[in-house]
């Protein structure tokens, strides 16, 4: 297993992004933090949704779980690194267990079940008022994480989110090139055949689900620390499940580079729409989704497929049902 030239190019791009705090305004810094967050979500989703071919809508579940596990630990005075570790552990173990159960379902059934997981977690968080603050939300004091000063905190959270992006990129590229990634590709193309040739499908799928959940949960913790206030409808929002899918579709389904560029393109679109029409932003976002699926189903990559020499990956037709 070795990284290819395109992988090093991706790393270079992401590394260059790290200069933002020294060259950009606070607004650019906020956008940069969002870019890192979205890229982490999209690349993580790609492990289960793109590489394995399971239409997961559980991103919001892991995001909210990570935000609350990390957020609660932060308010209790634990350091950020401990909160991140705990969120990652809880999400990993939870996704492993859940994966063994839920990944037996396919297609629509898996989609609905993964959607329901976020709903259940949201309601549980809502009703566990003593621990989570319930519908009142959870305040995470600024000084608990990044010291004093808003500008300093903004730089701090950009750099941590960027660090998480680097970590995720390395892990996801490793998965893509490793035996695990090969097994996942086998499962996507024909699960029964993969089972026959000795791929432990249940374990591989669950591991993919867990790896996907782990980074999303850590992003959730950082998000909670960054915005200082979380509430169940915010962090368990179904949009957190749908946006990564749209990003992956935008960039071209199945490749890590596609997810990365899709996240950047999506953020740009979202920001333009949001800046120009606050009231109608979700409707315009919906219109963009519809237009994308109708006219560019293979993503932006298909526009310049001659430039990016990369085998195009499609979801297996067998997973349609």
């Amino acid at each position: 297993m070795s990284f290819r030239r395109t992988d090093w190019m991706l790393f270079g791009l992401v590394l260059a992004l790290g200069l933002t705090p020294w060259i950009g305004s606070p607004y650019v810094l906020r956008l940069g933090t969002f870019a890192c967050l979205y890229a982490v979500l999209a690349m993580s989703w790609n492990v289960i949704g793109g590489m394995t071919g399971y239409p997961s809508f559980a991103t919001a579940a892991f995001f909210g779980l990570g935000a609350y596990v990390g957020g609660i630990l932060l308010t209790k005075g634990y350091p950020l690194i401990a909160a991140l570790g705990a969120a990652a552990l809880v999400a990993f173990v939870g996704a492993m267990v859940l994966g063994v159960v839920l990944l037996r379902l396919r297609g629509h059934y898996f989609a609905v079940a993964s959607l329901a997981v976020a709903e259940v977690l949201r309601e549980l968080t809502n009703s566990a008022t003593d621990l989570t603050g319930g519908g009142m939300g959870l305040n995470i004091p600024l000084s608990a994480v990044a010291g004093a000063g808003i500008a300093q905190a903004a730089s701090f959270f950009f750099l941590t989110m960027w660090g998480l992006l680097l970590l995720t990129l390395a892990a996801v590229l490793w998965v893509e090139r490793s035996k695990l990634g090969f097994g996942l590709a086998c499962i996507r193309q024909n699960e029964a055949a993969a089972d026959m040739i000795g791929v432990n499908a249940t374990f591989y799928k669950s591991l993919a689900f867990a790896i996907s959940g782990l980074f999303v949960a850590m992003a959730g913790t950082l998000y909670a620390g960054w915005v200082h206030y979380i509430e169940p409808p915010d962090v368990f929002d179904i949009l957190f499940s749908v946006k990564p899918i749209v990003m992956a579709l935008l960039g071209g389904l199945g490749s890590t580079a596609g997810a990365l560029f899709g996240a950047a393109a999506f953020l740009a679109l979202e920001e333009i729409v949001w800046r120009n029409s606050l009231q109608g932003s979700s409707g315009i976002l919906g219109l963009l989704i519809v237009l994308l699926l109708l006219f560019l189903p293979r993503g932006l990559v298909s526009l310049g497929s001659q430039l990016v020499r990369r085998p195009h990956v499609e979801t297996a037709p067998g997973n349609g049902r």
Binding site: G49, P55, F57, V101, L102, R104, L105, G107, H108, Y109, A111, V112, A113, L115, A116, V117, E119, V120, E123, L124, N126, S127, I238, V242, I245, V246, L249, L253, Q279, G280, S281, S282, G283, L285, G286, L287, L288, I289, V290, L293, L294, P297, T315, P317, N319, G320, R321
Partner: protein
Amino acid sequence: MFTLQIFLNGLVLGCLYACIASGFSLVWGVLNVINLMHGSFIVLGSYLAWGAYQSIGLSPWITLVIAAPLFYGLGWILQRGVLNRVITAPVLVTLTMTFGLDLMLNNAMLLAFQADYRKLNLDPPLGTLALGSVVVPVDRLIAMALALALTLVLYLILRQSRVGRAIIAVRLDRDAATLMGVRVPAIYAAAFGFGTAMAGCAGVLLAMIFPTSPVSSTAYLGKAFVVCVLGGLGSVPGAVLGGLLLGVVESFGAWAIGPEHAVTLSFALLIAFLIARPQGLLGRQGFE
């Protein structure tokens, strides 16, 4: 007697759930599309009933007659214009597509009606009916009866009419149906139209009972998911059985462990059914 009251409340709720879910189930079963717009169609139906009553004093049960063809047309156009183009794509694409359309519809409703909760109050109120110690509001009773009647109408359409038999044929075997001369895109549009009409009519009925707001659409959609999986895909009797089951379970659950856990309970039921019996209670393919 207390138990009987809870049971009856559950049944009333269950009939409405059946009406909500039968259209959703039809679309999922026949088109293989999870229609995330279903909740917003219901809310739109409620607004239609509210608007008709506020402006020209039209009773909800008369609005039903207008709502059905109106929503059928809306569904037909959406299917013909947009969804038929991606109907063969994997679930990821169709699901994201309906999500995008739902964002547009919901945003439009938010702009048009604001997020305030509105309630259709019949004037004069219909009062309540007391049977021994069990009390039922008359408007709920009417809504329940109409919901059951609508579901029965859908069942009869699928079972008796020419287009209904074609829908079932397409559901059973699309290729064979094509060979028998069924125009599949037209049948998809009809099925989606019926599903949308059921949602709109359910919305009209719900306007009599619950306050309406664009933000309630996800709650309705959640109910449709659960009932559909409980009852079995694409089966109208399954939707009725699933709806009644969910209504009763929710009523008793709200009483026993508190109403704040009702949603958790229904989704836990959904996941349990998906794992243990994914075909649902009455899930036999195309047996309408």
